[in-house]
Subunit: 404 residues, 2 copies
Amino acid sequence: MLSEVLLVSAPGKVILHGEHAVVHGKVALAVALNLRTFLRLQPHSNGKVDLSLPNIGIKRAWDVARLQSLDTSFLGEGKEEKPEQGDVTTPTPEQVEKLKEVAGLPDDCAVTKRLAVLAFLYLYLSICRKQRALPSLDIVVWSELPPGAGLGSSAAYSVSLAAALLTVCEEIPNPLKDGDCVNRWTKEDLELINKWAFQGERMIHGNPSGVDNAVSTWGGALRYHQGKISSLKRPPALQILLTNTKVPRNTRALVAGVRNRLLKFPEIVAPLLTSIDAISLECERVLGEMGEAPAPEQYLVLEELIDMNQHHLNALGVGHASLDQLCQVTRAHGLHSKLTGAGGGGCGITLLKPGLEQPEVEATKQALTSCGFDCLETSIGAPGVSIHSATSLDSRVQQALGGL
Amino acid sequence: MLSEVLLVSAPGKVILHGEHAVVHGKVALAVALNLRTFLRLQPHSNGKVDLSLPNIGIKRAWDVARLQSLDTSFLGEGKEEKPEQGDVTTPTPEQVEKLKEVAGLPDDCAVTKRLAVLAFLYLYLSICRKQRALPSLDIVVWSELPPGAGLGSSAAYSVSLAAALLTVCEEIPNPLKDGDCVNRWTKEDLELINKWAFQGERMIHGNPSGVDNAVSTWGGALRYHQGKISSLKRPPALQILLTNTKVPRNTRALVAGVRNRLLKFPEIVAPLLTSIDAISLECERVLGEMGEAPAPEQYLVLEELIDMNQHHLNALGVGHASLDQLCQVTRAHGLHSKLTGAGGGGCGITLLKPGLEQPEVEATKQALTSCGFDCLETSIGAPGVSIHSATSLDSRVQQALGGL
C-alpha cells in the first residue's frame, strides 16, 4: 500500500469518423479528447472510504470495517479461490444486486449517481480485496467532461479509478518519479488498467464496446473494427472546437432509425456505409502521414472528409437542425464541422487548422455561443491516462479536487 | 401547306434524380415540367418570315424570296439528292457558318439571341425546303420557363418549333380535331418531332444529351442511362414548388469538381454515386407503383429519396448556401427539397404532397420569396408537346403571343 496522494487524469473521447457505420461492421476512428477527468486519491487512517464526485453532487462515506465484514467473496466467483494478481472479474447480475445493497443509496437516487457509486464500489472491492485489509481512502473525482454527452465521461471515470486503485494497491508501480510533472504507465500496466476500466464501464453501461475505456487508457487515436481495437501509430494532436448543442438525443432511437433505413433502402444505404468506411480509412491514412510529415494540404483533406461524412450522416437521418446551424456558423468562418457520436443533437467538432488567427477562433466561439451552444477550444489525440505531480495541475483543477 | 393558325406548347424539364451521377454512367430521371413554351404559327401571304421571341427581345423578319434564293442545298449535304420525307440532317460546322450569314445578326448580339435565331433558321429551312416554295409565316414563341436555369427552355423551344413547322408543312398531320381543346401527335410523329428538335438543340448546345428534347416531346418521366432514353409507363403528375435561387452557377466547373473529387477519393465517391443510382432506381420503381395504385406512403418514400439525394449532392460538393437555405425554409414547413440540375445555386424542387392546405403552401412560397428566390407552384410529369385550340389557352398566354 502506498501512502502518498495520487493525482490521476484520463481523457474523454470523440468519434472522428464512423459513428453509426460501426454498428454495421464498418471502421470507426475514436480519438482522445483533451477534456479530462481528474482524480485525487489520498490514503488516510480514519477507517473510512470517502467518495466525492462534485460534478454530480455525490459525497458518500463507508466504514472500511463494515465493507471488510461484507461477504465480498462473490467478486471472485467463478475464479480460483485465491485469484492471481491482475485477475479481472466480470460481475454477474446477481453480484450487481449485492453491490447495490452495499452502496445503500436511496431509492429515488438518479441513475447516473447510482451507477457511478456502483462502479466505484465494484472497482474498490475487486482491486483492493487482495490487500491484507481494505484501505482507508479519500477519493475525489472531478471532470471537465459534460456527462451524458457521448464524450466518454464514464470511461474516463472508470479508467482514472482503475489506474489510481491499482497504483495505490501496488498492483502496478507508480510511474511518477521525483521531479516529474506527469508520467504514464508501461504498456502492460495500461493493459491491466484498461481491463479493469472495462469492467467499470460494464457496471455503468451493461454492454459497452470497450472503445471509450481503450481511448481513455491509451490516448491518441484508435481504430475500431468489428470488435477489434488497435492504436494508430503517432497520431497528431489536432486543435478543435467541441460544441455541445445541448439538444438531448436518444441514441437507441437514432441507431434503430439507421437500421430501419438500411432495411428499407438496402441498395441506397449499404453503399453509403461503404463510403463512410472509406472516409474513416482515408482519415486514418492521412493521420498516419501527418504523424510522419505534417503538411498544410493534409488539413484540407481532413476538412473535406469532415464535410462529406457530415452529409453522409445527414443522409442516414441522424442530423438535426441544431447541427446544421453549427455547421453553417462555422462554415461562415471558413471552418468545417461534423456531428460526433449519435447525432440528432448532441456534440459537434470543428477542425482548427494551424495558423488560424485567435480573434477568428474567438469570433467563431462567440457565434456558436450566441446560438445557445456550449463551445470549448480543446484538442484531440490527447495523451491517455496519466499521473501528475500536485504542482503541475492548474489551480482550477486543484480547487475542483478540494485543494491539494 | 396548312393555312390555319397553329398553337403549340412544349414543357420544360427538371432532373428528379441522378444529376452529376449521370455523367459517370448512372441512371438519371428527367421529368417534364409544366412550365411551358407556347408557340403561335400563323401562315400569311406578305412574303415575309417573322420571328418574335418576346422573352429575349427578338423580333426579326426575313424576305421569303431572299431565303428562297439562298443556296440552301447545303442542308441536304451528305444525303440523297431528293431527301425522303422525314429525313433529318445534321448540320456541319460549315453549314452553321452559312446560317450565321443568313441570320444577319449584329456582331454584338447576345449569344442566347444568336443561337435562338440560328436554331429557328435551321429548322425552318430544313423542314420547309421540301415545300414547292418556302412558306410565309408569322411565328411568336413565348415561354413560362426562365432561360439558362437548367430547365430545358431551349429544348422546349426547339420541340415546339419542330412540331409546328412539321405540321404546317404537312410532314405530320395536325392531330387537333374540331371541338378538341388540346391534342397530341402519334408516337411516330412524335419521334420525328424529337429528331428535328434534337437537331435544333445541337445548333444551340453543340453536343446535347438528347434528354431535354425527349422529355419535352414525350412528357411524363424519362430514364436516361448511358445514352439510352426510355419513357416511364404511366408516371404520376406530382405537384411541386420550383424555386430559382437566382444564384448563377458554372455547370462546367461543377461537373469538373465532381470528377476531381472522384479522382481524389475514388473509394469514397464511387459508392456515393452507386447510392445515387439506387435512389434513381427506387424513385423509378415508386413512380411506377404510383401510376398503378397511388397511396400516401409513396409520397413519404419520395420525400426520403429527395432528402437523401440532396445530402449526396452536397457530399459531391455541388451544394450551395442558397440551396441549404431553400431546404431549411421548406423543411420548416414540413416539406422536402433538393437541388435540380447542376447545383451550386440554380433551381430546387419541393414536393407538395396531396392534401396540403393551400395557406401552408402559400406561406412556404412567401418564405422562399422573402429569401430573394423566385418560386412557382407547378407540376412535373406533365404532357409533352401538344397542340391547342385558341380558346383553350388562358388569357395570359394569349396576350403573351400577341393576341389570338
